[in-house]
Symmetry: C2
Subunit: 137 residues, 2 copies
Amino acid sequence: MDNLATLFKEKNLKLTPQRYAIYKFLKSTKSHPSAEMIYEALRPDFPTMSLATVYKTVKTLIELGLVQELNVGEDNFRFDANVANHPHIVCTKCGRVDDIEDAVFEHLNSEVENYTNYKVNTHKLYFYGICPKCQGS
Amino acid sequence: MDNLATLFKEKNLKLTPQRYAIYKFLKSTKSHPSAEMIYEALRPDFPTMSLATVYKTVKTLIELGLVQELNVGEDNFRFDANVANHPHIVCTKCGRVDDIEDAVFEHLNSEVENYTNYKVNTHKLYFYGICPKCQGS
DNA sequence: TATTTATAGATAATATTTTTCTACAAAGAA
DNA sequence: TTCTTTGTAGAAAAATATTATCTATAAATA
């Protein structure tokens, strides 16, 4: 939290209660919420906060490298405070999005370079399937 | 083209000039155009066609399994008439989107099942880097 | 030829995200 | 402490992407 304050100060940004709450919420969850979901989750504590503030804040957090943006194929973006590059998996039945932890696919970048003339820097991997809960039903 | 007519007939869909043109255009290009780009490309030949028709048509084509939808992380969707599951690579400098051909990553699905309790069915892989042209400049 | 049916295009609606503007509050200067 | 600067929250509007509704029409069928 203190390094967060320091980082904001370095960039001449103010660590307002709203920004702090949004970041803390993203850090606390693995649900990869959309802007709307963040807004709804914080509404009890910040009833006056506007959705525009959520959008502006996540954009700021992304620029600071504190949050990454996901695009699992919906019509909106989702956000993840785990900025380590890791694949995600989407349940095509209930829509939940989970991290695939401990799976390292960094070697794919150089593998891909064998098939293209691109200089490959990064990647985003989305897997789709049925989550344990939905398999039961 | 004939099997296209047959397929449409089977589904009680009409293969109108607009639909045919949109599909043919998607088949002819590897540029992975968005709805807007399709609309602009066909405007010279179909000046009266509306953007809504493009959206409705690509949706129809997707349902028929003739086109797939991409989401490279922009705020819009792109479309690809190559429905074989294949990874894509995005140039982060000029924005072009290329196929990664001949690279088969189907084995990743079962690999991912070792890390989650999901039943994995499919995936979408997006790589990001610098294309040959942009490397030169 | 008459009738049914699906669709194009116009328009409006909806959803998501961004921008503009203004008042305010925190930080720094006097 | 007081004044001043500066960045930000929130409201509202705008911009963008996408979908839905409605009607006239053209193709397919009877």
